[in-house]
Structure formats: structure tokens, C-alpha cells
Amino acid sequence: MSTTAGPSGSLTALALPAVVFTLLMIAFPFAYTLWLSFQSYTLGSSEHFAGAGNYLQLLNDPLFWNGIRITLVLYVLSLGLQLGLGTYIAVLLHGSKRFADVLRSLLISPFVLPPVVVGMMWLVILDPAIGAANWILQIAGLPRSDWLASPRWVIPTVALIDSWQWTPFVALIVLGGLQSLPPSVYEAAQIDGASRTGTFWRVTFPLLLPSIVTAAVLRSVDLLRFFDIIYITTQGGPNDASNTLNIYGFRQGFEFFNIGYASAIMITLSTIVLGAVLAMSYARRRAQW
């Protein structure tokens, strides 16, 4: 592969339409929301400049901190589940030639389903009174759960739903990483007489790290802004137990019509996501070599 970069001027011109289009689409929304976030603007009262008022209010708002906490818990739980299980499934798949074909088509189905469908589907399955989930627990001799209606279990349940949808995606990405590793890596290790687990942790895992980090970055962007499934199933309830920052901002704006305050929440959330992505791509570059 050559390192020459091609005719730079005309190449930049090719990239320009995409950049201009994106900027045209997002520049105004960001500027507008930023401006709103400095306004005291609640429907039915007069709008006026509030300076940093909304942001100061955030600091003293227990529901804002609740939102941060829930967002982080959900993030860690979901990402952990998805990366762990995803890598595990990828390794299983890599070792099994027979199942690979059948499973591949199965693995792509969850994450191409519309979130609305996933939400509705799980809403029915997890219904505490009539759902199949409790029926299975009952057969297994376990106590029934209130699932999405339990303040204690709602976040783990949402994490399970999200992981059902996205673990296969992670598995496919990691599988790609596995398949690109030269077979000689394993052979050398096996001649050394290393155990299977030992080989995985000492040899395979470090080489897989870039793929895993890629999956982590892709999932992080969605998980930190978690919205769809909660909007469809619990809307932040019961009693704020699933009120992620994104849901909280949305409800402030579109349910209570505190538009200035909601804008401050959305700007804060965008900053958090941007920061996380930058940090991770930095780590990604470090992890590579």
C-alpha cells in the first residue's frame, strides 16, 4: 500500500458536500438550543435572559443528578453485558464451523428491528401479570418479578432488553476481529502447550482489543443518550427510577414545557457524549499500538 495521499484539492472537494450538509443540518439546532439554554423560558410565563441560571439550577436539582446516576448505571451495566457476552459469543462462533452459517442470520435480526417493535415486544413479554417472562420464572421455581414496574429492577431490565438487541452486533464485530487474526498465532501458542483460557487472555484478547474498543465506542454513543426503549416502555418511571438524562430533558421540555431548562439539560448531555467519544477515540489510538 502506498502512502501518497492523492490529489489533495479535488479530494477535499469530494468530501465537502457531506461536511457542508451536516453543518447545515446541525449548526442551527445547536446554536438555537444553546441560546434557549440561557433563557428563562417556560410556557405560559414571559421569556427573558437568564444567564447561567438554568445551568446553576441543574447543579441543585436532585433529579438532574438522579438522571446522571441512572444514565451511568445503565451505561456500565449494558456496555459490560454487551462487550462481555458479545466477545464470548464471538469466540464460541469462531470455534464452531457448523453453527456459523445458521447463527449469522440469527445474529443480525435483533439490531435491525425497529426500537418501537423491540419495546412493544418486551412490554408484552415482561408484563408482570400476563407476561411470558414471569411464567418461565414460575416454571423454574423462581419468584415472579415486576420487571419494568419495579424501581429496583427497571434499569437492569432495560439493560437486558438493550443487550438482547445489541450483544449480537458486538459479537459480529469482535468475530470480524477474530477472523482477521493469523492462524499462526494460535498454532504457536498451542505448541507451547498453553491452555485454552490462557491462550485467550494472553494472546487473543490483546489482539482483539481494537475491535472491542470499536464496538464500545459505537455502543457508548447510543447508551449515553439512552432514549428509545425507555420512551416506549416506562417513560422514566416508576417514580424516576429509569429517568435517564435524555428522558429527563425530554420530559422537562415536551411534557412540562420548561423549554429553557430542558435545553440546558440537552446541551449538558451533548457535551458529556462528545467528551466520552473523544476520550475513547484517544484510548483507541493508544490501544492500537
Binding site: 469530494l14 412493544m120 470499536t214
Partner: protein, 271 residues
């Protein structure tokens, strides 16, 4: 190595379990959509029942399903085309010139919560006179499809040897012509994968359509919220709606599954 076979069997067993966990909820949804309404809410759930099409009939008689489907198709196809139109040259340039910033800028749209865009985009499209037209939805969905196209295509372009591109230059090929005649034919698998993914994610997206579409342009996904509304308290019909909405993305994904999986794998390694 006696235990190797045993281990393989154990692995197979675990994979079977994984398949079951993935499949069961979807199967349950489809099954429920064919249950008579009284049996959907029966507890313990019935596994054997006489299937009925009542739920589907009720759905089609109560909603202009075909119209919403058409709207979804127009929006998803339109935004996929725009995503490809802007995304393909951008991915080509980013890959050849090794400059990441255009790819990162297009990703910026995904950093903010979707709700941030609702009020300002409505204002914008009103100024442009596009409220109530498909364009409002196509353009907003293109903001989602564009980064998908670029990021999926990048590794495919990366795999094209630069020597091929350079010799085209030497032969006097302009840059756009090099892209069109030399590079594009080499990344057809990537084009297919990115187009399908863009289409699927546009089809699935509901938030923008909830406030930017009107009675003429409402997408199937946005309309599906009505099924949970007043007067529509039938789980069976809800499951029927969910099944129908899920069908197009599932079929599309299955049609290109081999390439889709390969595409994701390539992206992971190079990206």
C-alpha cells in the same frame, strides 16, 4: 486431546442456547399476533391455539397501513440515496487522503440527543417552506444515514490498493472519474451493505417523524404509536402491527446477511 470433542460439543450447546434467547422473543411476538384476542392475555400463556388473522384484519381496517408503508418507503429510500450521494465521495476522499475530520464532522450529529433537534428543525423547515413535505423527513433522516454510509464504506475503500488509483491518475483520469470508473466497481459489496443499513436505520427511526410529519407523510413507525392509544387496547393487534413493521428490515437484512456480516467485520478491523 480427548477433551477437544467434548469442548466443541459444549460450545455447540451454548450456541444453541444463544440462538434460543435471540429467537424466542421474536417468535413470541409473531405467535401472539395470531392468537385470538382473549388468549393473548391468558395466564399462564397458551402455546397451542387455533391461529387467527383477526388481529391483522383489525389492523388493516382501522389504519391506512398501505399509505404509511409508502411514506416510510419514500423517506427511507430518499434518505438512503442522499446518504449515498454525499457519503460515497466523502468516504472515498477520506480514505485516499487519510484525513479523518470530514468523517468525524458527519458523526457529530449523533452526539446530541435526537430531542435537541425537534424544535429548531421544525423552525428551519418552516423557513424553507418544507413543512408537510417528504423533504423535511428525508433530509433529517439523511443526517442519520450519511455517517452510516461513510463509516461502513471507509474500510472498503481502504482495501482498494492505492497503486490502482494512482495509475488511473497517471492515465489522465480526473478524481471524480477515478472514483466512478475505478474505485466504485471495487467496493460494490460495501455499497450494498451501507445502502441496506442506511435504509434500515431510516425506516426504524421514529422521533423526527413524530413531530415533523403530518397526515400525508407520517411514517409507519410514527403511526405505530397510535396502536397503543385510546380504544386500541388489544395486545394482539399491537403484536400484529409490530410484526408487520419489523418485516421489511428483517427481510432486507436476511437478503444480504453474508455481506452485512462481512461488512461489519471489515469495519471492525480497519476502522
Amino acid at each position: 486431546m480427548v477433551s477437544a470433542t467434548a469442548l466443541r460439543r459444549l460450545g455447540g450447546l451454548q450456541l444453541a442456547l444463544v440462538s434460543l434467547v435471540i429467537l424466542a422473543p421474536v417468535a413470541w411476538m409473531v405467535l401472539s399476533s395470531f392468537k385470538p384476542s382473549a388468549e393473548v392475555t391468558a395466564y399462564p400463556p397458551t402455546l397451542w391455539f387455533t391461529p387467527t388473522l383477526d388481529n391483522y384484519r383489525q389492523l388493516f381496517s382501522s389504519t391506512p397501513f398501505a399509505r404509511y408503508t409508502l411514506n416510510s418507503l419514500v423517506v427511507a429510500a430518499g434518505s438512503t440515496l442522499i446518504g449515498l450521494g454525499f457519503g460515497v465521495p466523502a468516504a472515498f476522499a477520506v480514505s485516499w487522503r487519510r484525513m479523518m475530520w470530514p468523517a468525524l464532522v458527519t458523526l457529530a450529529a449523533r452526539m446530541a440527543p435526537g430531542t435537541l433537534y425537534l424544535l429548531p428543525w421544525y423552525l428551519m423547515f418552516r423557513w424553507l417552506g418544507l413543512i408537510g413535505s417528504y423533504w423535511a423527513l428525508i433530509l433529517t433522516h439523511a443526517a442519520i444515514t450519511l455517517p452510516i454510509v461513510i463509516w461502513v464504506l471507509l474500510p472498503f475503500f481502504d482495501a482498494v490498493p492505492h497503486s490502482v488509483l494512482e495509475s488511473a491518475q497517471v492515465d489522465g483520469c480526473s478524481v471524480p472519474r477515478t472514483l466512478w470508473r475505478i474505485a466504485l466497481p471495487l467496493v460494490v459489496p460495501g455499497l450494498v451493505v451501507s445502502a441496506i443499513l442506511a435504509f434500515i436505520f431510516s425506516w426504524n427511526y421514529f422521533l423526527f417523524a413524530l413531530v415533523l410529519s403530518n397526515s400525508d407523510t407520517k411514517t409507519l413507525i410514527a403511526a405505530s404509536f397510535n396502536f397503543i392509544g385510546e380504544g386500541a387496547t388489544y395486545w394482539g393487534a399491537l403484536m400484529a402491527a409490530a410484526t408487520l413493521i419489523a418485516l421489511p428490515p428483517l427481510l432486507l437484512a436476511f437478503a444480504v446477511q453474508r455481506r452485512l456480516v462481512a461488512g461489519l467485520a471489515v469495519g471492525a478491523v480497519k476502522g
